[in-house]
Symmetry: C2
Subunit: 190 residues, 2 copies
């Protein structure tokens, strides 16, 4: 029998999404968000939830565009840093030494050193409460050759992504292969 | 320099969300979704993306309620099974042998054997494209005592969640602790 623990915002895992935007002066900025996910296959879309207190929120509203960069575990300190300070006061690219690259398809920057980035055009903005949900259509993905497999697709074992655990306030590595999807469930049917 | 690989729906990690609903006859159903995430802190909300072809989609629209169950790695075969067949033709609780429990706060069932469940009231429905984004306000979480820490909070190390890797079409275990959030980023500033 389960116990009530109250209304909390806990799911596992939550991704580490590094959101890239330009400010009104054209300065590239990045912030880290844990709340978001893919939300449509056709058109391909991603949703990210941001507070209006963030610098990124206003950049997305103004530019109608953003990128979502997926870091490797070796980039964890950068992703954490991007969530600790505001682009209003800080040039996070200058401090981190990472390199902004202007997307070829939307008016937003991605990070050269991070393995891959989704380039998104804002198509919906939903006011949920303290957070606003931005839905971006994914127009392209730019990826490093080093994380692609022989078919040219992204290989998770080469990316080595990590995730955020909200309650623990901690990052965890990806673990071992557990099983094939649409396959291990067959054991339940029989 | 990065390479274009086209507009794809890839982020890592994606969660394994087991969505519980009642059908019009009151039959409990569960399906597994990888596309969703927390989307607001106040009110606490989660967004999940579903196709209208699913049985769950119509149950949510009718009942205005759903649960999101977070499985442990030991439940991987059940979660996979719940994504392989439709509740339209199958009683997935009967086949799996798992136990539906009616939520005390919304008209939706959660799974007794799975460590914790978010109980959600539908507050927004956004037509994105092939998928619809359902935003549910989290009214409570029900959790097993066995996954709580000494403060009564959910302990990720006890839950042992797993995640889905879209391109690989595979499940992966959670890995080792990587670092504290809002902490390891300090190394970048100095």
């Amino acid at each position: 029998m389960k116990k009530s623990i109250g209304a909390k915002t806990i799911i596992y895992p939550t991704p580490v999404l590094v959101v890239g935007t330009y400010d009104p002066a054209g300065k590239p900025n990045v912030m880290t968000a844990a709340w978001g996910g893919i939300c449509c296959s056709s058109p391909p879309c991603i949703a990210i939830a941001l507070r209006s207190a963030t610098y990124t929120y206003h950049n997305i509203v103004r530019q109608g565009a953003f990128t979502v960069n997926i870091p490797s575990e070796k980039h964890a300190r950068y992703a954490d840093y991007f969530g600790m300070v505001s682009g209003k006061d800080t040039d996070k690219f200058a401090v981190s030494g990472l390199t902004p690259v202007k997307s070829s398809v939307v008016n937003a920057p991605y990070i050269e050193e991070i393995p891959f980035a989704l380039e998104c055009k804002l198509i919906h903005q939903i006011e949920v409460g303290l957070h606003t949900l931005f839905v971006g259509e994914i127009l392209d993905i730019k990826a490093e050759e080093s994380v692609l497999d022989e078919k040219g697709m992204i290989d998770i074992e080469k990316v080595r992504p990590f995730f955020y655990a909200p309650e623990a306030n901690a990052y965890y590595r990806m673990g071992e292969f557990l099983g094939e999807a649409f396959s291990i469930g067959r054991a339940v049917k029989s």
